[in-house]
Symmetry: C2
Subunit: 347 residues, 2 copies
C-alpha cells in the first residue's frame, strides 16, 4: 500500500494550477513509483479564499472553483482561514508547496511562510526565489534541525535540474563558480534588438506576449538575475550572499546599434550572472557581457543556460529551451519526489 | 560505523588508475558522506597481473606496482588468477568497477563480464560503452532479478550526468528523443578544418595530441557515436537498438573547403547522433549536420553536448567542456554513490 503524501498548496496562480492539473496525471504516476499517493489537504489563494480538508480535497473541484471569480469556500471544512500563517498553522500536510510571487526586495512574506512551515514540521518545496536568495542558509539549518527538507529547484531555470543535479548527481564535487544567462525577458529583448527592433518596441512586444511584466524594472535592472545569482551562490557555493551585495548592472543602457555592432563582430550581448569564490568569500555580479556567438550563454529568445565550474568534473553546462508554466510546475514535482523518497526511506 | 563498500577493479589503465588515486582523496569523502568506506578487494589488469585480498588491498601499492613493467603478483593472496572470469568468480566485492576498453564491434568480452558479475550478485559500474550499446536491456533485467544495479554513467559524456540525471532528477518524465555531439575526435578535427587545416593535418595533429587513436576509423566512421547513440536510446528511450541498426555516416567525406564554406554561411558541420521514437520503434542515426553557429551542439574542440526532448520539461541540454581521464573516472564515483545509497538504504 502506498502511503499518503499530504500536500498543502500555498499560492494558486498559473504555476500552482498547472501543478494541480498534472497531479492527477503524469505527476501521479511519478509519485506512485516512489511509493506515495498525493493527497491535497489544503489550498490557499490570495483572491479566491482557502480550503482545508484533511481527508483530501477534490483538486478538480478546486480548479473549477477558482476559474472566473469563484471561491474555494464551499470546499472548506472548519473555521475560516484567516491568513497564510493561519493556513500553515492548521493544514495537515507532509509538504507545503509554496508558489506565491517572488518579492524581489525582501523575499517576504515567503521567507516567513517557509520558516513557519518548517518549524511546524512540514517539508517545504518552492519555486519562489525570495527565501532562497535572502535566507537559504538559515532556512536550511532550520530544516536540518527539524529533520525536514527545504527544496527550491524551481527558483532557477524552472524544472531543469540545477540544485538537485548537484545534490544528487554530482557527489563529492566542489562547485568553484558559475556563469548563467537566466533572465528570459532581457534575453528576449536583446534577441529582438539583434533582429533590428528598437529597445522600446522590443519591450512593448515582450509585454504584449506576456514575457515581460507591466513593470519591467525588476528584469531590466537585473534584480531578477541578482536574486537567481544569490540563490545559486547560496545553494551551490555554500555562500550566504545577500541580493543587496550583488554588483548589478541592467540592460537599459543598451540600444539597437550597440547590439548590432557587437553581432557584426561575432558577439552577442547577454545579461550574465556570475558567482565566484574569492578566497573565503563569494562574489555575485550581474552585467551585460559581449559573448562569442557560440557561447552556451549566447542563446536566443527565452532560452536559459548555466555553466558550472567544478574541481572534479571541469565545466558542466545545463540548458533549458523555452520557459513555460509547465516547466516551473515540473520543478515542484521533482522536489516532491525527493520528499517522497525521504518519507519512504526508513532510517 | 560506516559499512565497507568492497570494490573490484577490472581494468587498470588510465581511467582505472585515476579512479584508484582519487579513491583515497575526494572520492573517499563523497563515499563516507553516504555512510560507506571503500575497500578495494581486487584489481585485475591485462598486462600487470591481478591481485585479490578480501581484507583490502593497499591501493597505493597497486599503483606503484603497475608503473613501468611491474606486476601486482606480490600483493595477491591465494591461487593465481587465471582470467577475468576467474577474477569475477572469486573476488569478494559489493561492486565490480569495469574499466576495460570498449570493443566497438560486439561489446565483448565486457558484456560477458557484466553478466557474470551480476549473476554472482555483484553490482556493476562501468564506463565501457559495449555492454550498454549491445545488451543493456538484458543486463538491466538480470540486475533487477538479482536485486543489483547495473550503472554506466561513464558510457556517454564521461561523468557529466546523463543517465543518472534522467533517473534521479527528472522523475515521471518521458524522453521523446535526443540529439548529441558526442565524439571528441571528430569534433576536434572539424574545428581544426575551420581553422584552415587540411583533413590529414588535422587528423595527424589529433593523433599526436592523443585525442585521436592510432587507428582512427572507429571515430571517423561514426562507430563511436553510433555506440553512444545506442547507449542513449537504450538507456533513455527504453529501446533495444543494436549498433548495426544505426544509420551511420562518418566525416571522411568532408574537406576543408566544405567546412569553411559552411562556416561563412554561419554554419558549423558537426557529427550529430540522433535518437527518435517513430511509433513503437526508436531510430538512431549518425551523420554530419550543418548546425547554426549558436546551436548547443556546434561547440569546438573536445566539448560534448546532448539535448533531450521531453514531454513534461521541453528541451533540456547538458554540456561538458573538455574530456579528460578525470572526467571519466568521476563517472565511476557518481555511480558508486548510487550503489552506496542502495546498500545503506533498508528496504
Amino acid at each position: 500500500m502506498p502511503r499518503d503524501l499530504r500536500i498543502a498548496l500555498l499560492g494558486f496562480g498559473n504555476v500552482g494550477r498547472r501543478f494541480a492539473e498534472r497531479l492527477g496525471g503524469p505527476y501521479l504516476r511519478a509519485l506512485q513509483r516512489e511509493g506515495v499517493r498525493p493527497l491535497v489537504t489544503g489550498v490557499a489563494t490570495a483572491r479566491h479564499g482557502s480550503a482545508l480538508d484533511q481527508r483530501g480535497l477534490d483538486v478538480r473541484a478546486c480548479l473549477r472553483a477558482v476559474r472566473g471569480s469563484g471561491s474555494l469556500a464551499s470546499l472548506h471544512f472548519g473555521l475560516p482561514v484567516r491568513s497564510a500563517a493561519d493556513f500553515i498553522a492548521r493544514v495537515e500536510a507532509d509538504a507545503l508547496v509554496l508558489v506565491t510571487p517572488t518579492d524581489p526586495k525582501r523575499g517576504e512574506p515567503a521567507t516567513t511562510h517557509v520558516r513557519l512551515a518548517l518549524t511546524r514540521g512540514l517539508n517545504v518545496v518552492t519555486a519562489n526565489k525570495g527565501p532562497v536568495a535572502f535566507a537559504r542558509r538559515r532556512l536550511k539549518a532550520l530544516a536540518a534541525r527539524r529533520q525536514r527538507l527545504f527544496l527550491h529547484e524551481g527558483a532557477v531555470m524552472d524544472g531543469a535540474p540545477v540544485f538537485n543535479l548537484v545534490e544528487q548527481c554530482l557527489p563529492g564535487l566542489r562547485v568553484l563558480g558559475f556563469r548563467g544567462n537566466l533572465n528570459s525577458t532581457t534575453n528576449h529583448i536583446l534577441s529582438r534588438l539583434e533582429a533590428g527592433r528598437s529597445f522600446d518596441t522590443a519591450l512593448a512586444e515582450a509585454q504584449a506576449q506576456g514575457i515581460a511584466e507591466a513593470d519591467p524594472a525588476h528584469d531590466l535592472d537585473g534584480w531578477d538575475a541578482a536574486l537567481k545569482g544569490c540563490a545559486l551562490a547560496n545553494g551551490l557555493l555554500g555562500a550566504s550572499v545577500h541580493p543587496r551585495a550583488v554588483k548589478r548592472q541592467g540592460i537599459r543602457g543598451l540600444s539597437g546599434p550597440v547590439v548590432l555592432t557587437a553581432l557584426r563582430e561575432g558577439r552577442r550581448i547577454r545579461l550574465v550572472v556570475r558567482g565566484e569564490r574569492k578566497g573565503r568569500h563569494v562574489r555575485v555580479s550581474v552585467r551585460p557581457e559581449r559573448l562569442p556567438v557560440g557561447d552556451p550563454l549566447a542563446g536566443s529568445g527565452p532560452d536559459a543556460a548555466l555553466v558550472l565550474r567544478t574541481d572534479l568534473m571541469g565545466e558542466i553546462g545545463i540548458l533549458e529551451r523555452g520557459m513555460s508554466v509547465d516547466q516551473t510546475a515540473y520543478a515542484l514535482l521533482a522536489d516532491l519526489v525527493v520528499v517522497a523518497r525521504s518519507l519512504t526511506r526508513s532510517y
